[in-house]
C-alpha cells in the first residue's frame, strides 16, 4: 500500500481515500477493503486494480508482476468499455535526458502492446512519454528511483476526475 501514496497530480482524492481505508482495515479486518469505493470509478481503478507497473533499471520489458497488474487492468477495462486511457511512460533520474525520454516511450509502448494483446481495442489507448521530467518520488535512493521507473494507466474520461 505504501507505494500508492505517491500519486501524481489529480490523484489527491485517491491518496486520502487509501489512508482512510487502511485505517478502516486495521480496525475492522473482516470488512471488504473497497467498501466505500464506487465500482467503475477512477478510485476503483486506482485502489482495487492498480494504475501503474514498475520496471527494473534500464529495462523496458514487463515483469511477471507488471503483467499481473495489467491483466487486472484489462479485466476492469472490459467491464467498463466506455473508458479510454492514456498510458504514461516514465524514467528515473539516473539517465541522460534524451535516452530516458526514449526509454519511457518504450515502456509506454510495451505496456500498451500487452494490454492490446489481451483484447483491449487499440483505439481506446494512447501513449505519452515524460522521460525523467515527472518523478513521483524525489529522494536520491533506489527506493524512489524504483517508483519513478513506471508506466501509469490514466483514465481519460472518468466522471468527476
Amino acid at each position: 500500500m505504501s507505494s500508492l501514496v505517491n500519486f501524481g497530480r489529480g490523484m489527491r482524492l485517491a491518496v486520502i481515500l487509501v489512508a482512510a481505508l487502511t485505517l478502516a482495515a486495521c480496525a475492522q479486518k473482516d470488512k471488504p477493503l473497497a467498501g466505500n469505493v464506487t465500482p467503475g470509478s477512477a478510485q476503483d481503478f486506482v485502489v482495487n486494480v492498480g494504475d501503474r507497473v514498475f520496471f527494473p533499471v534500464d529495462q523496458t520489458t514487463l515483469t511477471p508482476q507488471a503483467r499481473d497488474t495489467l491483466n487486472k487492468q484489462v479485466q476492469w477495462l472490459r467491464l467498463y468499455p466506455n473508458y479510454t486511457v492514456t498510458i504514461e511512460g516514465h524514467a528515473d533520474e539516473r539517465g541522460t535526458r534524451e535516452y530516458n525520454l526514449a526509454l519511457s516511450a518504450r515502456r509506454a509502448q510495451n505496456t500498451r502492446d500487452y494490454v492490446v494483446s489481451q483484447g483491449i481495442n487499440a483505439s481506446r489507448i494512447r501513449t505519452v512519454s515524460y522521460g525523467k521530467e515527472r518523478p513521483v518520488a524525489v529522494c536520491d535512493a533506489e527506493s524512489c528511483f524504483s517508483q519513478n521507473r513506471r508506466a501509469v494507466t490514466v483514465l481519460n474520461n472518468a466522471p468527476g476526475s
Partner: protein, 442 residues
Amino acid sequence: MRAFLTAAASLAVAAIVTIGAAVPARALIEVDITQANIQPMPIAITDFGASGGDPEVGRQISDVISADLQRSGLFKPIDRAAFIEAGANFDAVPNFGSWRVLNAQALITGRVTKQPDGRLKAEFRLWDVFAGQQITGQQYFSNPENWRRIAHIIADAIYERLTGEKGYFDTRIVFVDETGPKDARVRRLAIMDQDGANVRYLTNSPQEIIRNPRFSPSRQEITYVSQPIGETPRVYLLNIETGQREVVGDFPGMTFAPRFSPDGQRVVLSLEQGGNANIYVMDLGSRRTTRLTNTPSIDTSPSFSPDGRQIVFESDRGGSQQVYVMNADGTNQQRISFGQGAYGTPVWSPRGDLVAFTKRSGGQFSIGVMRPDGSGERILTEGYHNEGPTWAPNGRVLMFFREVRGAGGGPQLWTVDLTGYNEQQVPTPAFGSDPAWSPLLN
C-alpha cells in the same frame, strides 16, 4: 517579449578602430596553452573609468573583462588594490617599471567616454610589460546598454592576441530554467550571456515541458523540444528576434534531440515510433525529411561534425547506450565508444578534433572527450550526476549541468576546460539544465 528580444539581438557595437601603437608592436608574450596544466598569466587590468571619461561604466567594463579572463583559467588578474599607478593617462606610454614590480606580464589600459550623440566610446591598449611595447589597441562605439558586450568583445580581443586562439566571451547560452519542487518542476526556455548576465525567458508556461534547446549557427534561431503536459513532445524552431515559432516537420510521433547542421540549413533529430527511436534530418528550405538510421533500438542525440560530412550519435542497438559515427547520409554506421560503462549525448567539437559525451559508469556520471575514432578517451569531470556537454565556439571549454543530490536538489550549470582542472559554476537565477552555447556574436 518581442521588444527586449530585438534589443538583445541587434548588434549595436560598431566602428572597431585600431589605435596606433605608441611603440612598434610585436607580440612577445603568449600564454602557453599546449600544456596539460596551464600556469595562468598574471595580467593587470586598469580601471577604465579612472583616466577620465565615465567612471562608473568604465569600472564595470574593467570588472567584466577581468572576470572573463579569470574564469578562462588562462589569466590571473592582479588585484587592483595592489596597483602603484591606478589612474595613469591613457594616451601616454605606461611606466612599465611600476607594473614589472607586480610581476604583471600583460597590462590592459582603457578609457570609456560618453559621446555627444549618446553613444559610448571604449578604448583599450594591451601592453607587453617586460618588452615595454604595445601589442594591440582598439576602440569601439556602442549604445550604452550594450556596455557588457563591449567588455566581452575586448576580453575576446585580449584572449585571442595572447593565446593565438579565438575567444568565446561575446557569446550567449540558451538553457532550461527550472523552478519549483522536483515533482512539480516548471521548465522554461531561457537565454543569457555566457557569464550568466542578462537572463531572459523565452517561454513561460508551467504546463509546457522544455528540453534540449540549441542555437542556430547562422541565424537568430533556436531549436528545442516542447511538450505541453499530456501531449507528445515535438521539435520546434523559435526565431528569437520575432518570437515566431513553428513545429519542425510533419512527423507521425514524438520528435526530440534536435541539432542544427553547421550551415544552419538542416535540423537533425530523433523520431520515436513504436518504442524505437531513429534519426532523421530535415532540410529547412525544402522541408524534405530523410531517414538516416533504421534499427529497432534507441538512436538519438545526433550531432554533425563541423564540416557537415559526418554525424555522431548514441544508440543502444548493441545492448547498451554507446556512441556511433556515420556519414551524413546515414551510411557507414560505426561504434566508437568501447570503454567501461554507457555513453550518451555525444557532441562534436567545433574544431572537429574531439567528441564530448556523458558517461555512466559505476553509479557516476562524468563528462569526457574522445577523438572521433574513439581513441584517447579522457574524463574531465566526474561525480554523482554530470550531463549534457556543449562546446564553447573555440573548442576549449565545455558547459554542462550537474545535479545537486536529494529531494531539494536540482541541476546547476558548470564549465570545465579541456585540461579538466578549471571548473567554474555559471550563475543562474534558479536551477538550470540543458545548456547550449551560441557561436561568437561578433
